[in-house]
């Protein structure tokens, strides 16, 4: 353990910590755009510069290892002026379109500009203009808004192990892009979108669906067995985006399905009324003889809509009839690994206690 002093306060942290870790431990707020606790330090944005006694120049807290007895000052008029200049420079090469930006209100650059009260820019000049938009279906990549913090590059390499993007070119022309500046072709986990501090990376399906006053509900991903914690962002009654918080068991990381495959919830194809068959079974499209069926109309024409009362009574009558005629073991229930514990519990209880058979199973095997 190492003890150091930050703004006059003593703090003890683990040996391999950085100055930024120590600052965070004291809950002192310090701006940063390129730092992420799960990624290797980068030191590119230069916002977390601090003064360290004995070092002539300001140093980035995110890259500097702590040492015993170190004395750190996190703020001074000079440091704040430098941070302000950094922000001004970043904004001088950034589109001025917060009005229509998907990330407005959820953008760290905008937030910092607000806190530093940057109204006008001393350094306006040439801005990077990229005509091409990425054609992939998931991730909107607006590289004019990119501040080159490199979090996306690091998360893609260090967390996802894919390396779909990297820094390319250099100097003012530096750009983060897939090889040969082609369209993104990757696993579309969206980890890069999750760590992007600006509007450079967003979900294509989020576009103009809403960005403020969203209701947030923490829940569980409905796909695989990992059980990732997700947060649904809701506007009116629609889920318009999925995120995950860093403090969850999945550390905020998701896969393409967890992050982007929520549109089925609002799908117009959802079943909304009980249906009772009107056409005999043999005529269904997906029939025994056809080996390569055309895409099903999944037609509701085979059925008529019914009220719940009618449907439930109909089922109850039929089950009673069959149970009386053939005994309870002639009925079976198939439950679902997609349903909740409570539903599964109740389902098997229904089959066992109400129907009177142990003919209950689910799809664990597939």
């Amino acid at each position: 353990m190492v003890t150091l002093t930050i703004d006059g306060k003593k703090v003890t942290v683990r040996k391999l910590s950085t100055v930024l870790d120590a600052i965070k431990k004291l809950n002192i707020s310090i701006p940063t755009l390129c730092h992420h606790p799960d990624l290797t330090p980068f030191g590119g944005c230069r916002l977390c510069i601090v003064d360290i006694k004995g070092i002539a120049r300001p140093t980035t807290a995110c890259t500097t290892p702590v040492s015993e007895g170190m004395e750190v000052i996190t703020t001074s008029p000079t440091l704040e002026k430098m941070r302000r200049t950094t922000l001004e420079l970043l904004l001088s090469d950034h589109p001025d379109d917060c009005r229509v930006c998907e990330r407005a209100g959820d953008c760290k650059l905008q937030e910092l500009a607000y806190f530093y009260g940057i109204r006008e820019n001393h350094f306006l000049g040439e801005r990077r203009i990229y005509k091409k938009r990425d054609g992939n279906p998931f991730i909107e990549r607006d590289m004019e808004k990119c501040i080159l913090c490199g979090k996306c590059v690091r998360v893609c390499d260090e967390i996802e192990g894919v390396g779909a993007i990297d820094f390319a070119y250099r100097g003012f022309r530096t750009k983060i892009c897939p090889p040969y500046d082609k369209d993104l072709d990757c696993e579309f986990c969206g980890q890069c979108v999750a760590v992007c501090p600006t509007g450079a990376l967003t979900g294509k399906m989020w576009k103009q669906k809403g960005r403020q006053n969203l209701k947030e509900i923490d829940t569980i991903c409905p796909y695989c067995g990992c059980g990732c914690n997700i947060t649904l962002l809701i506007k009116r009654n629609d889920v318009i985006r999925v995120t995950s918080k860093p403090e969850t068991i999945n550390e905020g990381w998701l896969c393409v399905k967890g992050r982007f495959c929520y549109e089925f919830i609002n799908s117009p194809e959802r079943l909304t009324k009980p249906l009772i068959r009107v056409v005999p079974k043999e005529s269904s499209a997906f029939s025994v003889q056809q080996t390569n069926p055309p895409f099903l109309s999944l037609s509701k024409e085979l059925f008529r809509e019914a009220s719940w009362d009618e449907a439930l009574n109909y089922i109850a009558d039929r089950l009673k009839e069959i149970k009386e005629k053939y005994g309870p073991d002639s009925i079976a229930g198939l439950s679902s690994a997609k349903c909740t514990n409570e539903e599964n519990y109740l389902f098997q209880k229904f089959i066992r206690a109400v129907i009177g058979t142990n003919n209950v199973d689910h799809c664990a095997r597939y």
């Binding site: 089922i315 039929r318 439950s335 389902f347 109400v354």
Partner: protein
């Protein structure tokens, strides 16, 4: 899983066999990759060059269905090299001596002959695992979906036991459960032989316990498993089925057989959020609600019970499954009274001590891993700490057996089915997503480049694939993923349903169908 997901990053050796983890359990895949970054060695045993192979120290490309031979051979080397954990074997197991004799039959040369894996690689893998301090074994359907799937699992257990690699942090055996709540559905007793909490239906006292709790007479006869239901329907014995949130027409093997069986039923109820292939042949279809529209709990693959919260109102007149079941129950003369999902959860907890200590409030933040028997119990991060709950575990004598249906002259290719990253199961959810339909719109069959060349099949061509049960037209994808003689089809696509081809052969004990091996032929159309 005996371990927890976060423990995965701290293994020193990760042994993945029969799991395409990065595609089917991406977040666990991340942990494995992190382990590799932190210096762990990765052993991948898979007939396909799955993405994880990129990170592997050694890749064992064994022939599908030869897992037992591969594992026995690995264990042969471990025994010969003296890498067994004698103390663990003595304290916690029985039957090792006769098991050791069995291993004599599987020197690496024999392993190589059966599995097609060079013996050097078998030895390398054995030394890596045998010398590891915190190894973890991961497997999924690649192990279980065989006619000898149970034997595969026993074999894995043997390996972990003989090396004493169980019951410690970041050390254990970890089956990965495929769907979000497979674990929960099993826990909750949606199994023909178990009440909730794996309490046998025919065990003295158990039935009485549930009869008392539910205040009703219960059957002591073990029920039918899902494949048996299909057979029974085909035989005309089963007359009615109630299917909640499943799509067996597409997910079960031998689609034609499944359809025939379900069509024979007098009455079929399907309860789902979408019109599915199975709902289409139902007599009544009930609209239920999706995960975002209800409250409840899911149990993930690491036994973590987590809280699902209602986020939006369901569409139209669709209703929660709980409401539907209680309504039906009432109409059938059995009143169920629950004011909330949590009341159901608490009832389950009263009947299964492993859940007894959990409440919605306790699991609200990060969930809890069962067993969690008391209100102050922190949950169980990993299993078998300090031994097995039922005393000593036995080594199982398992010999390699061939898969049921192997390629022959008429059907010369071996077909495996499975998932890919972008789609999910029968696609009833993911295929409603525009972006997914752009990136992964259609079915394909992976063919090894050498095989394709020999047959004159070009990449992207539509070819005909047939088995003894049916045939489909499907796009060829020339890929170095499958080994020679093997093809792979993802089962998500109804237009070229892989399960039209698969066989109904299944493991005699677990009743899991042999999705990973059947014989097919390829023809240019």
């Amino acid at each position: 899983m005996t371990n927890s997901i976060p423990e995965a990053e701290n293994h020193d050796v990760v042994f993945v066999i029969g799991s395409n983890t990065t595609e089917t359990h991406p977040i666990i895949g991340l942990k494995m990759k992190k382990a590799v970054r932190k210096g762990a060695e990765l052993i991948v045993a898979d007939p396909r060059k799955i993405d994880l192979v990129r990170f592997a120290t050694v890749w064992l490309q064994h022939k599908p269905g030869t897992d037992v031979a591969l594992l026995n051979s690995i264990m042969h080397v471990i025994t010969k090299e003296g890498l067994i954990d004698k103390k663990f074997i003595e304290t916690w197991t029985e039957g090792f001596e006769s098991f050791k004799e069995l291993l004599e039959e599987y020197p690496p040369e024999v392993g190589e002959k059966i599995t097609g894996v060079p013996k050097e690689d078998i030895i390398k893998a054995a030394l890596l695992y045998g010398n590891a301090i915190r190894p973890g074994i991961y497997f999924a359907m690649g192990i279980t979906q065989h006619t000898h799937g149970t034997e595969n699992v026993y074999s894995i257990a043997n390996l972990a036991m003989m090396t004493g690699n169980l019951g410690r942090e970041s050390t254990g055996v970890n089956p990965l459960r495929g769907q979000n709540n497979v674990q929960g559905a099993c826990d909750m007793g949606c199994l023909p032989d178990f009440y909730p909490g794996y309490q046998k239906v025919n065990l003295q006292g158990v039935k009485e316990k549930f009869e008392n709790a539910w205040k009703v007479k219960l059957s002591e006869k073990t029920g039918l498993t899902a494949p048996e239901m299909i057979n029974s329907a085909n035989d005309g014995n089963l007359k009615a089925m109630y299917i909640m949130g499943e799509n067996p027409v597409l997910s079960d093997p031998d689609v034609n057989n499944t359809l025939k069986a379900l069509n024979k039923l007098d009455f079929l109820i399907v309860q789902d959020i979408f019109m599915t292939e199975t709902a289409e042949i139902a007599d009544v279809v009930l609209p239920s609600v999706c995960f975002a529209e209800k409250e409840g709990t899911f149990t993930n693959t690491e036994r973590r019970v987590q809280l699902l919260r209602k986020a939006v109102e369901p569409p139209g007149e669709s209703k929660e499954d709980l409401w539907i079941i209680t309504q039906l129950s009432k109409r059938l003369g059995y009143e169920m009274r629950y004011d909330s999902a949590e009341e159901v959860f608490q009832e389950a907890g009263r009947l299964w001590p492993a859940l007894a200590g959990m409440t919605y409030k306790r699991i609200a933040k990060k969930g809890l891993q069962w067993p969690c028997p008391t209100p102050d119990h922190p949950g169980t991060q990993y299993l078998f700490k300090g031994g097995f709950p039922r005393g000593k575990a036995s080594f199982s004598i398992v010999r390699y057996r061939e898969a049921e249906e192997l390629p022959d002259n008429e059907y010369p290719f071996l077909l495996s089915t499975g998932r890919h990253l972008f789609q999910y199961h029968t696609g009833s959810m993911t295929r409603k997503i525009d972006a997914i339909n752009k990136i992964a719109p259609e079915a394909y069959i992976e063919i090894n480049p050498d095989d394709a060349k020999q047959l004159g099949i070009d990449d992207g061509k539509i070819i005909r694939v047939s088995s003894r049960r049916g045939s489909i037209s499907i796009k060829a994808m020339i890929s170095d993923r499958p080994r020679r003689g093997m093809v792979f089809i993802p089962f998500h696509f109804r237009e070229a349903a892989a399960n039209i081809l698969t066989s109904n052969n299944h493991d005699p004990i677990s009743k899991i169908p042999e999705f990973k091996v059947c014989a097919v032929k390829l023809e240019i159309t």
